[in-house]
Amino acid sequence: MIDPVHIPESAPDAVIRLERIHKIYKMGEVEVHALHGASLRVNRGEFVAIMGPSGSGKSTMMNIIGCLDRPTKGQYLLDGQDVSKLNKAQLADIRNQRVGFVFQSFNLVPRTSAIENVELPLLYAGVGSAERLRRAREALAIVGLADRGKNMPNQLSGGQQQRVAIARSLVNDPSIVLADEPTGALDTRTSIEVMEILQRLNRERNLTIILVTHEPDIAQYATRVIHFRDGRIRRDEPVANRKDAAQALRELPPAEEDDE
């Protein structure tokens, strides 16, 4: 566990700096203390897995890191900018420019083609349509779905939908990608395929990835694992024997072509 006092002030490449974050929800009369002064620093290019039982505060942490929510107390610097006091519209802009989201349930806009789903962040960023299309195609190619741009979400398998979601999270060239249980709705093989893409992006593009999961073997694909409990960080350690998803895929028995 890292004591925030000992974080060097001149942290060279800290993408995320959370200091003594508190989050208190008011449920009628009762106050729920979801986070108790959690502090965390994530450097550029790290692949961090956040684990913990439900109610441990990891989802709240995720929402704050993703700028979907603001801390009740404490400071959050994203890419050096204090985002803990911004209003809704400013938070939307930060999410648009700095954060990519991958969700457990894919969360693609229904009845909207894959390429248009990927274009969505660019649309809200005000990028012109030709440039939007170009970048969306590029992102789809990275996740290996260059030829599925015209497909609607319901014409894609779960793994493919998640890859579209990953493409969408990349398209705005964000500082961090937040993956909230990205493999929760996928079978083993597809899960490893998704992890392979995330590992590749982390390695090749030096992308910072925060992964929330409750599967210990999925957490082993990260470089660092943080355990939450009762609104505090209980453990924060590097992954000793990091698994390579590409390797794991090769070792899997040849698949019965499940999603392509």
Binding site: A89, A92, N96, Q97, N107, T112, Y124, N172
Partner: protein, 407 residues
């Protein structure tokens, strides 16, 4: 984010639920269509009345002899014989704002030509009648001043009378008998159609008023029943009205405390009154129709609220990837606006067709004015914004975390 992109997203969203969008739009279509059709009926009536009044001449005045009391019983306007030839001549001579003036002496008689006969209302006037009534002679010519002075037996026929007495013949120059006196037909007036009260204005014959007084009336020479006056302009007719009143009071030696023994009626006032009536009718019809437009607006609000609830998750996704609350608001506003705009356009087309149908099948005059089109379209737009705002605001106020979790 540009407006075109917002419209495109809105268009797509509406396209996903074509049936629902069409039904929602139907409310606005019916509303706008009803407003256009109803107002067109009202404005058609308005136009017709105005046309009739201006065909009579809106700068026209009628001077009527006044009330007469006989043993305490009021005999009504026109009962007294207080208006004389000299009054009319004085009006012509002394009031510069008067362009034309003619005495009117009415009579009626059976007129006969060959084996045809017709009962006709005869108006005795002077030679200025065509100018006053703005009524041209179609064939032949009107009688002249000399005819009036001498009380000649000349007659100008209305179109209906000419057609009845001279089917397929040229009446000009023929001699007809009025109460057994021979009259020479000098001309035929052009057709004028129905009056405001539905009377056939062409069922008439005009002779010099002196002829009526001397030849057609009985033993007593009748006083003139009224005088028709036209002002030099519409504005001038108001002035003329006052000047005639002053002149006649003076001539009739009416003291300052006594009331007039005549009445001057300005057609512009009549026109204003009937314009007011038809405007009220138009407003009434329009506002009844506008209620259905508001009901249509409530339909939009209802559907938009359902749509916001259904698409809560989509809203959450859009917010997560960086849509500001304002964009979400605009997107839903664009949808409701598009529903009302398209409904408005279709409604205008349908309202126009209904209005045509009404004039075609029922024979009512209708008038689709660009103003009524603009107003109803503007109203539809306003309704789209007004009833779309609350659902759009609701969507924009959603919390992205809650919205993403929504099932």
């Amino acid at each position: 984010m540009n407006f075109l992109a917002i419209l495109k997203i809105a268009m797509r969203a509406l396209g996903r639920n074509k049936m629902r969008s069409a039904l929602t739009m139907l409310g606005i279509i019916i509303g706008v269509g009803a407003v256009i059709a109803m107002v067109s009926v009202g404005q058609g009536a308005q136009r017709m009345v105005q046309d009739q009044i201006s065909s009579m001449g809106s700068n026209m005045l009628y001077v009527m002899p006044g009330n007469m009391m006989q043993g305490g019983a009021s005999m009504g306007l026109g009962a007294a014989s207080t208006l004389t030839d000299e009054d009319v001549i004085a009006i012509q001579r002394e009031i510069p704002t008067v362009a034309h003036v003619s005495p009117v002496v009415n009579s009626s008689a059976q007129i006969v030509f060959g084996n045809q006969n017709w009962f006709v209302r005869i108006q005795g006037t002077n030679e200025q009648f065509p100018d006053i009534r703005n009524w041209k002679v179609q064939q032949g010519e009107f009688f002249n001043e000399a005819d009036v002075v001498s009380g000649s037996r000349v007659i100008v026929l209305g179109k209906t009378v000419a057609d009845k007495l001279f089917p397929g013949m040229d009446p000009v120059g023929q001699t007809i008998r009025v109460r057994n006196l021979p009259f020479r037909v000098s001309g035929v007036l052009e057709a004028k159609g129905q009056s405001m009260v539905g009377q056939d204005q062409d069922d008439t014959a005009i002779v010099p008023y002196t002829t009526v007084q001397r030849k057609l009336a009985g033993r007593t020479i009748p006083a003139i029943s009224q005088a028709m006056v036209t002002g030099v302009s519409e504005a001038g007719s108001k002035l003329a009205q006052n000047q005639i009143t002053d002149l006649l009071r003076q001539r009739h030696k009416i003291g300052p405390t006594e009331s007039d023994d005549f009445m001057v009626r300005n057609m512009a006032d009549v026109a204003a009154t009937s314009a007011q009536l038809t405007t009220i009718m138009t407003l009434l019809l329009g506002s009844i129709a506008a209620i259905s437009l508001i009901v249509g607006g409530i339909g939009i609000m209802n559907i938009m609220l359902v749509s916001v609830t259904e698409r809560t998750r989509e809203i959450g996704i859009r917010m997560a990837v960086g849509a500001r609350p304002n964009y979400i608001r605009l997107q839903f506003l664009a949808e409701s606006l598009m529903l009302s705009l398209m409904g408005g356009l279709i409604g205008i087309l349908i309202g126009g067709s209904i209005s045509r149908g009404i004039s075609g099948f029922l024979g009512w005059p209708t008038l689709v004015s660009s103003l009524s089109v603009l107003i109803s379209f503007g109203f539809a737009t306003a309704i789209g914004i007004f009833f779309g705002y609350y659902p759009a605001h609701k969507a924009a106020a959603l919390d992205p975390i809650e919205a993403l979790r929504y099932e």
